[in-house]
Assembly symmetry: C2
Homo-oligomer: 332 residues x 2
DNA sequence: TTGTAGGCGTTATCAC
DNA sequence: GTGATAACGCCTACAA
């Protein structure tokens, strides 16, 4: 065997003394092959160290067994938690995953989508949170299936996997109102549908508790650790006693800020984080958090994508997973 | 234009009334095209909404503008920090990135490598830390360039980007010995070359300080948050006063454990973390840390990979980046 | 059960 | 400058 020269299906066919078609059958697990010739082919494959060229296969079959994941940033434990679920199921189904960071930048997202489609991915998973009309349109026009995870579509057209954000916010608010009067809510950008739902749940709980809605207690647009740090001062000014924070990283920043001010949790302040990413566990005191099952959100999204790719029936394409509130040390 | 039917280069050629070759030239920025025909082609591309099929291109050109990244797990902020650097430079150079989680499992890594090669990636970046002989051999045999980041090769054959782990451990130890007698070191698995280097630096500092090496102060094999938690008790038993911890997540676990025991940092205990991933910033008190420039380690590795792919000259393939020790609140 | 041959959508090498 | 035309490596009817 001429080393260094990569063996093709043709080489295998020749050394096994069969046709390319037969080799292809063996490689692809087609059962209509006599056992003896199958063995001969396998031997040849082994001998030549043959590995099918996935690119050629993709061109011929129009399937690449590659999917794309659009993620704001991989360094955020919330998104990487979901991505990990996606990746595990993907590899279980033999898909490779192209991950692209978008930084929530619409132009970048557009480019990424173009690039993924030009690479003929079999499907796309979008974790962007902020799904603009433009991106939504683009995704709907794509000739491959798309599943959102941790992201809502305004008209529920795209398949998605989420938790019930409204309910989660409602429950959290109810709980915090038991021991506090001034409970703040910290949604991320209000362009996220999720933020609107959270706010609805928050308001509902207030109403049922007979407490008036005070818009000074809504601290919107906070998405980073630094935002959280800065929040601690603003909250002091507003005499806030407890906070519901959508982004874990913001909650941790807030915690930091409070601790720096010498405030003791949960005695003088309560925090409930929104996603239960690993961060909530790593800080001290560990944060009570709504448990978004990140891994599952990714895994189930990916599983759904495989079904859509294979045109299997999907009963419900708007999946809502159960959440719970994990009690840790930032609440009484 | 017949909607739903994806336009090929042939369609463009026909509507622009040129040959495929010319379209290809225009698409690939070849200058040998008359301006008027170029415009005609661009119009046709626009009209037909043509996007080149990267798979077909890959088959014909033998380049896929896709690279593979092998990562233990994306949810660890150390690795995602590096991966983010890789991704940014990759997208700058128009490469897509296939990320595959290996969980440090050799069999998985082997499969991943096979899969990446079959997908004809143009190069591979390996972030695995523990580079086994088998994997190392496999990577060296690959027909595409490979760059390690945050990982050392036993014989320095594979290109790599790292910091000077020995020096970092030495400096850290020197510093901690100023105010402490019993300074522990917490390397990860001793199968990592990095761990050996760290230990060397540690020993050197001890020697220079005239302090005997006590192997009870080496807590090896700790790699998770839970490991760190458990460490806090073991360290108490050994009357440890300060610890140098390779993995940030372990350092955070240790911090947690100490705080739970009511120990005050840095007064009663000092910690220096090893990587300066975001985690060290998020905990309270924030951890003093050796600053491994994670983003740069990824970015530079990727940049080097592009050079290797294009067969450009690379002067030095064992790159050592500068580190520093970022003073935060876990040291005096 | 196995082989033949025509794509798949590009790029690249020649000619013209 | 531009156009044919053969690869690229595999899949998939269709035949046999």
């Amino acid at each position: 065997m001429t080393q260094e020269q990569i063996a093709t299906i043709y080489d295998v066919a020749r050394t096994a003394e069969v046709s390319m078609a037969t080799v292809s059958r063996v490689v692809n697990g087609n059962t209509n092959v006599k056992e003896s010739t199958r063995q001969r082919v396998l031997d040849a494959i082994d001998q030549l160290n043959y590995r099918p060229n996935a690119i050629a296969r993709g061109l011929a079959s129009k399937r690449t067994t590659t999917i794309g994941v659009i993620i704001p940033t991989i360094t955020n434990t919330y998104f990487s938690g979901i991505a990990r679920g996606v990746d595990d199921i993907a590899s279980m189904y033999q898909y490779d995953v192209i991950i692209a960071n978008s930084d929530n930048d619409e132009d970048k997202e557009l480019k990424i989508i173009e690039s993924l489609l030009s690479k003929q991915v079999d499907g796309i998973i979008y974790l962007g949170k902020i799904l603009s009309k433009k991106i939504s349109k683009k995704l709907k026009e794509a000739r491959v299936p798309v599943v959102l995870s941790g992201t809502l579509d305004h008209d529920n057209e795209l398949a998605s996997v989420n938790i019930d954000y409204k309910k989660a916010a409602y429950q959290t608010t109810v709980q915090l109102l038991k021991k506090n009067k001034r409970v703040a809510i910290v949604p991320s950008a209000m362009t996220e549908l999720e933020s609107k739902l959270r706010l609805e749940g928050y308001k509902q709980a207030l109403k049922e508790a007979g407490i008036g809605f005070d818009k000074e207690l809504v601290f919107e647009g906070n998405m980073t650790f630094e935002d959280g740090l800065a929040l601690s001062k603003k909250m002091k000014k507003e005499k806030v006693q407890a906070a519901i924070v959508a982004y874990d990283v913001v909650a941790v920043g807030l915690l930091h800020g409070l601790l720096e001010q010498g405030i003791t949790l949960p005695k003088d302040f309560e925090i409930v984080a929104g996603a239960n990413s690993l961060l909530t566990l790593y800080c001290f005191p560990a944060l009570t958090s709504v448990n978004q099952p990140l891994y599952d959100m990714g895994a189930i999204a990916m599983r759904m994508l495989t079904k859509l790719i294979h045109k299997e029936e999907v009963k419900e394409n708007q999946i809502i997973l159960e959440h719970e509130i994990v009690k840790r040390d930032s609440t009484k």
